[in-house]
Subunit: 309 residues, 4 copies
C-alpha cells in the first residue's frame, strides 16, 4: 500500500490549496459547510449530547421555567376558581400560585395543597403531568446518554519528530491513554497531506497513507510510539527539512480503540502541521521501574524530546 | 473478485424479471413478503422506533386516554364511595371525577384531594400506580430510543455518471454527509443488476459486485466520489449506452460507516436505475477555498454535473 | 481451510460419543454443566432478560406485593399513631391501611390522606420512597432492555438437502429473515460433526469446518440458499447416503448479521442431524414476480423441497 | 508473524526490568501512572460503574441524606412559616420536619401534609423536585448501566502447562465460560514477555506474540485448550525448564468474544508468570457423556492436570 497517491481521501483534492490546517489539534475539522438549510444538517442528538454541562444545565432550567410559565398561564386562563387552595387576590399573586401548582404537577410531586377541582383545570393537569413524565423520560435518557458516552481521552505528544530509527529515519509521535480505563486493540492510521507541483506547474495538495512499523497494539496501558519508517517506499524518502516545510505538510492522525469500560469502539483524531514536526529529536523515556519493582509511567513528560546527534 | 457472476446475492435470482426497481432511492426494498401471519413478522420494536413523531405522540396520547377511561370505569364499578373528595352527583360527573383521580394515580402526581379510602379503591389505586410507573418506564426507553437511534443521513447525488476516468471510463456517483457529526471509516459496496439473455434465449436478471477504485475512506468530512473503473475486468467493459439501458440495469449501493457521535455502525442504501445513470457527464467541483483560506463545501451542488467532451 | 480436521472447536472432542444432538434446532446447546455453585454461573441479567414476559410480569407483581407487605409491617411495628389518617381499629385493618400507605409511598404517588407524622414513620417513608425510585429505575432499564434486545428471527428450512449443484453435488439449506427489519452483511458458518473410526478402532466424533460457495450476502431481503459444494476438498466427497447416516452427522450452523434497526450484530444458530439431511431433493422456488411487476417471496414455502432426478 | 520481536507492545520496553508481574491474574495492570492531576485521569463513569455494589448503595444513601440535610436547611433559612403543617416548636424539631418535607419533595412523593405556602418555600420546592427528578434520571442510568454492563466471566486454568503436543511440545492453558450465556467467536492472543541479555550484556525484557494452533473458536459452550506449538518458529523452541524460569517469563493472555446475551464484544485478560507454567503436565479430561447420552462438562476440574511421561 506504500507510496500510493490519492487525490481524494474522503477529503476532496480541492481541500488542496487551503492555507489553514484541515484537522485541528483537538480532532475537529476546519471545514465550512454551505448550501444546506439548518434543519437538514442539524442533529438534535448531536447538539444535546455534545453541549458543555453548564450550558446543558442552563438549558434544562430555562425549559423548566418556560414550561411552568406557560402552564401557569393556562390555569389562569381557565380560571383560578378551578383550583382549590389558591389564596392570592391580585392576578399577579394568582399567576404565581398557578405557576407553583404547575411545577407540582409537571414534576408529579403533587402536594395537593393546591389541587384541581374544576373540569378544565383537571384536564389541563392530566395533560401537564403526562407531559412532565415524558419530558423527564427524555431528560433521563439525555443525562445518562451524556454521562455514559464513550470518549477516548488520548494524549498525543505536542510534537511529532523525525529522527534516526534503526538503520534509517522515521516519523514518530507518542500517544498514551489519559484515563485509567483500559483501551484494547488500539489501531493507528496516519495520512500525509502536502502541496505538490505537478507537471503543468499547478500546485495542489496530495494525500498519502503512511505505512507504520506497527498498526495495532493489543494492550495500551503505558505509552505507544507510533513509527512511520522513512524507507524507499515512503513519500518522505530523501525529503529534506526545507523541502518538507516548503510543502506545507499536515500529518492527519486517526486512532481507533476498543474501550473496555464502555464496551464500545472509540476514536481520537489530531494532526501535526509544518513546524509541529521537528527534525533530529527523539522522545525522552517516560517509563521506569519504582523502588518496589513496579513499572511507572510519567504521563506529564510524554511531550518531552531531546536532540540526537 | 472482479467479473464474477452471482445468481443470488441474498436477493434471489428470480427477483430477476421484476419490472420495478428492487431498491428504492430512499433505501427501502420493493419486495412483497407473503405467507407469514402478522405476529410472525411484526416487530413491535421496529414499529414503535420507526413511527413518525406525530403518530408516535398521538399513540401515546390515545393510550393515556384509554387507560384512564378504563381505570375510571374500574373505580366507578367499585363504587365512588371508596374515594374521598368525589363531589359529582350524576354518574357522568362521578365518572369524570374518577377519570381525573385515575390520571393523578397513573402519573403518580397524587394530589390527594380525591383519595382512595375503601379497600377496593385502595387496591385498584395500588395497581394503577404500579402500572403507571411501568408504562412510563417503557415510554422512557421508547422516547429515548427513538431520539438516540443512529441513522446515517447520507446525500447521494441524484444521478450516477459514466464518464472518462484517467485513461479509461468509470461509473461514478457522489456522496456526502448531510449532518455535521463525524462519519469515520466509510465503506462503499456497489452491485450491478441487469437483464441478460442466456444461451437458451431465456432472459434473467444477473448480479455483479463491482470493483471500486477505493472501497473505504477514513475521514468523510467533505464529499466522496465513488468510482468503479470500467476496465477489462468490469461487466460494463465495452457496453454501449444503448446496450446498458436495454438491460434495465440497477446499481445497488450500500454505504457502511462508523458514527462518531453515536459510537455505532450505520448504513445507508440507495440505487440508480436505467436513466438515473447518465453518460458523458462529470460532477462539478463543490469544494473551494474561502477568502480566509478555509476549505468550503457547497452541499447543495452535490447533484450538479456537466458534459465532458 | 478446506479438509482440515479439528479435535476441538471450542466444543471439546469428548463431546464426541454423545448420542444426543449437541445443538438443538432452536440454537440452544445440549450440554450439562456441572461442578460450579449457583452464584458462580448464574447471571441475573441473563435470567431477567430472557424470562418469558408472563413470568417477568408475575415476578414484578410478586416483588411489589412482597415489598409493600414488608413496609406495611414496618409502619405497624413503628406504630400507626405515627401515621395520620389511619382509620382501622383492628390490627388487621391497620395493617391493611399501612400497606396502602406503603404502596402510595413506594410508587411516590403520595396522596397524603394517610401521611407520616411521627419521626419514625417519616424516616421509614423517606427510605421507602428512595427504595421505590431506585427499584423503578431498575425496572425501567429491565423493561426497556427486554423490549429493545436485538434477537434475529431467522427461518431455517426444516431440512437440509444434498442435491446436484452445478456439475457436482452440494449440501444446501435455505434461510430467510422472518421479520421485516433489514439484516445486512449476513455471514454463514457451517461445521460438520460426525463419528469416525480411527486406526486403533476407537470411534470418536470429529469436527470439520465446511467451505461455502458464498460466506456472506450484503442484502438479505429475500431468501438465501447456503451451499457447501461437495468437491474433492470436502469431507463429504464420495460419501454415500448410507455412510453419512451411519456416521451420525450433525451440521452445526451459525449465522451472523448486522441488524439495521437495532444497529447491532445478531446471531442465529441451528443444526441439522442425520435424517434432517435429505438426499436427492432440491428446494422449490419461492420468489416470483407479481402482476404489478413487484418481486414477491412466499415465506411459508421456505421448507418445501422436491425430488430431482 | 512467528518469531518476531517487539520492543514495544503498547507496553513500552522499559517495563522490562520490572520485578513484579505486569498483568495480574484478575486482568488488571500492575502499573503506576504518575504526573497527571486527578481531574485529568479520573473518569466518573468508570468509577461509578465499577464500584462494588455495597459501596455504590452506600454512596447513593449518603448522597440522599446529604441533599436532604441541605434542602432542610434551606427551608429553615427561608422560614418554616413558609411551610404549612410544620408542628415542631424547637429549631431542631423544625429542622427535622423540614428534612422530611425535603425528602417528600426530592422523591416527588409529595404527601402534602407539609406543603409550601410561602413564595420562597414554593420556589425552593420547585427546584428541589426538578433536582430530584434529574438525580433519579441519573441514578436510573447508573443502576441499569451497572447491571447491564457486559463482563465476560472466563475461568482460566490456574496453571499453564508445557507438555507433549502431537509430535512436538506445546504451551497450553485451558479456558471455559463460567456463566451460562453464550459466547461466540472467541479469539485468543498470547504474548510472551521475558528477560534477555543482549550483546552488550544489558538485561532487558522483550515481548513476543505467540502463534496459536487455533486463534478462534466459533462456539464456546464447553472448554477450550489454547495451544501454542513449540516448533522451530517459537521463541520457546529448545528452551529448557531452567532457562525459561531464569528469564522470568510472563505469558500475557487476552480473550475477545461476542456475548450473545448483551450483543456486545467482551474481553478477559490474565497472565501466567514463571512457576505458574508447569512442565511435563497435561490437563485432565473434564468432558464426558452422561447416562442419558448427554454431554457433560465438570467445570470445577478445569484446573486439574496430571503428569505425562
Amino acid at each position: 500500500m506504500a507510496n500510493r497517491r490519492f487525490e481524494d481521501l474522503g477529503i476532496g483534492s480541492k481541500a488542496a490549496e487551503s492555507r489553514v490546517r484541515l484537522l485541528n489539534r483537538d480532532g475537529s475539522f476546519n471545514v465550512r459547510r454551505k448550501g444546506l438549510p439548518f434543519f437538514a444538517w442539524f442533529s438534535g442528538y448531536h447538539y444535546l449530547i455534545s453541549l458543555p454541562w453548564w450550558k446543558f444545565n442552563l438549558l434544562i432550567l430555562l425549559t423548566y421555567v418556560t414550561i411552568n410559565a406557560f402552564f401557569g398561564a393556562v390555569y389562569l386562563a381557565i380560571g383560578v376558581s378551578g383550583l382549590s387552595g389558591i389564596e392570592g387576590h391580585t392576578v399577579a399573586e394568582q399567576y404565581l400560585q398557578a405557576i407553583f401548582f404547575s411545577t407540582q404537577t409537571f414534576t408529579t410531586v403533587g402536594f395537593g395543597r393546591i389541587a384541581p377541582v374544576g373540569t378544565g383545570a383537571n384536564i389541563a393537569a392530566a395533560f401537564e403531568s403526562l407531559a412532565g413524565l415524558l419530558s423527564f423520560a427524555f431528560a433521563t435518557g439525555l443525562v445518562w446518554g451524556r454521562f455514559s458516552r464513550p470518549v477516548a481521552k488520548i494524549i498525543f505528544s505536542s510534537n511529532a519528530v523525525i529522527a534516526p530509527y534503526e538503520r534509517i529515519t522515521g516519523f514518530m509521535f507518542r500517544v498514551a491513554n489519559q484515563r485509567k480505563n483500559q483501551l484494547i486493540d488500539v489501531e493507528a492510521e496516519v495520512t500525509l497531506s502536502r502541496l505538490e507541483t505537478s507537471g503543468d506547474g499547478k500546485r495542489a495538495r496530495k494525500f498519502y497513507p503512511l505505512d507504520l512499523e506497527r498498526r495495532t497494539v493489543t494492550f495500551f496501558h503505558l505509552s505507544w510510539t507510533v513509527v512511520h519508517p522513512i524507507d524507499e517506499h515512503s513519500p518522505l524518502f530523501g525529503v529534506t527539512e526545507e523541502q518538507l516545510y516548503g510543502s506545507e505538510p499536515e500529518f492527519l492522525i486517526l486512532l481507533r480503540a476498543f474501550d473496555d469500560t464502555f464496551s464500545q469502539t472509540v476514536h481520537a483524531r489530531t494532526s501535526y502541521r509544518t513546524k509541529e514536526v521537528v527534525f533530529g529529536q527523539k522522545f525522552k523515556g517516560i517509563i521506569q521501574v519504582g523502588e518496589d519493582g513496579m513499572t511507572e509511567i510519567e504521563l506529564d513528560k510524554i511531550h518531552d524530546h531531546e536532540g540526537v546527534e
